[in-house]
């Protein structure tokens, strides 16, 4: 099997007593788009800076295409990096910015001109050669930064929250463009963001980080539907979390539970052992019905409607369960739903849509 484009092993970086990166293991396959997702301050930028060589790890290994690089300076690592603030050279034109890496590699004048033009056209900035960075919009600067990183045909692309400084519309547009570009060039990419939507829509795999550690690595669907920890479950999307006790030894991957809201059956999920667990259920998988209207085999709890929030395509129904705790169900707005505040109702879900995680 070919070496992965990037492998991090037991990577640790401390600032004083505080470990900003605390034992990170990660492999990025050739051509793969992996996102580091986590809240601000969880160590994403530090991890990227370790990969790029701007910081030296306190321990652990970094291998690029099977070669250990943790002792190489950044200028020998052959990585394309896009910074959160773009870090364009303000004293150079767009063309000179993009040509910089080629100049450092001693590429001939003609080839440089061709490749710069190619790169600028790749990011749809044809004809912007002579502009200065301060004459560009945020989105255009971002494209220059991308062209500058890609033109050197790096072994790997590192992107540190490249979209966070753009307005919403442009951000969504650039998401698609960066993904398409990455797929077209087939370049292994580590993308850093704190935005779950970006992570879910762009990535082949997501590594969810918290406090310097990777909590879970998986495809967007795995991360969303099979969260390994409470942190992952609640960081991505909204979710109902109900404390529960395992009532019987699980059979066939399903466990019978006792919860304050009523008995339940749910997917064993990531809780490997223990009696105290958490039952998790996404709002869009929690359905509503008239009393006695839940299908056979479903878990049905009686509930009361607290509030209905109208969001256009969807209705967000806030519920109070039997024990007084709150839950949220999300229904598509089919125009036939009439729910009044205080109305008694049945909230139901299929056992395979509920996922158990270890209790806390």
């Amino acid at each position: 099997m070919a070496d992965p484009a990037l492998r991090l092993q037991a990577l640790v970086k401390r600032f004083g007593a505080h470990a900003a990166v605390d034992g990170v293991d990660l492999a990025v396959a050739l051509g793969e788009f992996v996102t580091l997702l986590g809240p601000s301050g969880c160590g994403k930028t530090t991890t990227l800076n370790l990969i790029a060589g701007f910081l030296a790890p306190d321990s652990g290994f970094i291998a690029l295409n099977g070669r250990l690089v943790q002792d190489l300076p950044p200028f020998k690592r052959d990585l394309g990096m896009v910074f959160q603030d773009y870090a364009l050279f303000p004293h150079m034109s767009v063309a000179d910015n993009v040509a910089f890496g080629l100049k450092m590699r001693g590429v001939s004048r003609e080839e440089t001109a061709t490749r710069v033009a190619e790169a600028l056209s790749l990011v749809k900035l044809d004809g912007f050669d002579a502009r200065r960075p301060n004459q560009l919009s945020g989105g255009q600067r971002q494209r220059v930064a991308l062209a500058r990183a890609l033109v050197i045909r790096p072994a790997m692309l590192l992107l540190d929250e490249p979209l966070s400084n753009l307005d919403l519309k442009l951000r969504e547009e650039m998401r698609g463009e960066i993904s398409a570009l990455q797929r077209r060039l087939g370049i292994a990419t580590v993308f850093v963001t704190h935005d779950q939507d970006e992570a879910l829509t762009m990535s082949d795999r997501i590594a969810v980080m918290s406090e310097g550690r990777i909590e879970q690595i998986g495809t967007p669907a795995e991360i969303y539907e099979r969260p390994a920890t409470r942190f992952v479950a609640s960081f991505i999307g909204s979710i109902n979390i109900v404390p529960a006790k395992v009532a019987e030894v699980p059979v066939n991957g399903f466990a019978r539970l006792e919860t304050p809201a009523g008995p339940a059956i749910a997917h064993v999920g990531s809780a490997s052992s223990g009696r105290s667990v958490m039952l998790t259920i996404r709002p869009e998988r929690l359905k509503l019905a008239e009393a006695g209207g839940a299908p056979a085999g479903a878990v049905a709890w009686s509930a009361r409607v607290v509030r209905v929030v109208y969001t256009g395509a969807r209705l967000e129904v806030q519920l109070r369960l039997a024990d007084g705790s709150e839950a949220v169900a999300e229904a598509t707005n089919d125009g036939r739903t009439s729910l009044g505040e205080g109305q008694g109702i049945v909230a139901w879900f299929r056992p395979e849509d509920a996922w158990i995680i270890a209790g806390a």
Partner: protein, 284 residues
């Protein structure tokens, strides 16, 4: 309502009036007086009221005066260059270090500002005179067998001024380095530029305004400095400031003193304008 609208501009007007009056009385009027005095024939301290350009002709025709003018500017340029060359690495270190001693080291680098110019300059006198520290050290190692005459000299003046003005260079360059986004240097490195190339292609051009500013500040202060040339120089190493004092206080020739003052003023303003025009343009 009308009164309020009318009275509004008065406060800013008053606020500007005070510094404007200060500038007028203590800078514009004396400068105008100096400039006009330099064009008037004088008999000692008595202005005759006859207009003339003879004062300038006198100054520029005598080698002693011409040399003093040239020496002043050469010392100014040398001090500017030395200050920049020494303060750049220091400022770079102070801005980028993560040492817990950073604050202390910055204070230490700026400490020459705290010592009085006389004390500082006599410090150099103690080091450089015939029986001073340098000669004693060189003699005892045996590199020389006769003490060197390090004082009075242009070199001693240059050393004394460079030391005194180092903090100005450190401050202006630190300010421009602080304004430089470290990610820009990282970007250059990630694109394959080694440390030296990163410095030459990115750091240096982007901190060029700080370099020019530090140079100008050091240069401007150095050419008008009086105390340091008076202590570390001598009759053979007169600069414009010491000559002006001689004209005004010893020779009592106010006309020549004014003309020399005018040359100092005009030529330093001209040089400042030229250099800042160069500095305003970005290198790269």
């Amino acid at each position: 309502m009308i009164a309020a609208v009318q009275s509004r501009p008065i406060v800013p007007f008053l606020l500007v009036l005070l510094p404007a009056a200060f500038l007028l009385f203590f800078f514009v009027i004396p400068t105008a007086f100096l400039l006009s005095a330099s064009f008037i024939e004088s008999d000692g301290v008595i202005m005759t009221g006859v207009w003339t350009t003879q004062n300038y002709a006198d100054l520029l025709s005598r080698p002693l005066y011409r040399q003093a003018i040239l020496r002043t500017f050469l010392i100014g340029i040398a001090v500017g260059v030395i200050v920049i060359v020494l303060s750049y690495p220091l400022a770079y270190f102070l801005v980028r270090t993560t040492s817990p001693w950073r604050g202390f080291l910055i204070a230490l680098s700026l400490s020459p500002l705290l010592a009085s110019v006389i004390v500082r300059t006599y410090g150099w006198w103690v080091i450089l005179n015939r029986e001073g520290a340098v000669n004693t050290a060189l003699l005892s190692i045996g590199i020389i067998d006769q003490p060197l005459t390090l004082l009075p000299s242009s070199m001693a003046i240059t050393i004394g001024l460079s030391h005194a003005l180092l903090p100005y260079g450190v401050l202006t360059i630190m300010a421009s380095l602080n304004g430089l986004n470290p990610n820009i240097e990282r970007a250059a490195m990630s694109l394959g530029a080694g440390r030296i190339r990163t410095f030459l292609t990115v750091t240096l051009p982007l901190t060029w305004p700080g370099i020019v500013g530090g140079f100008l500040l050091a240069f401007a202060i150095a050419i008008s400095a009086y105390a340091t040339p008076a202590i570390l120089g001598g009759p053979g190493t007169q600069v414009m400031a010491t000559l002006i004092r001689n004209f005004m206080v010893q020779a009592l020739d106010w006309a020549l003193g004014s003309a020399m003052g005018a040359i100092l003023l005009v030529s330093s303003i001209a040089l400042l304008l030229i250099t800042s025009a160069l500095g305003g343009r970005r290198v790269g």
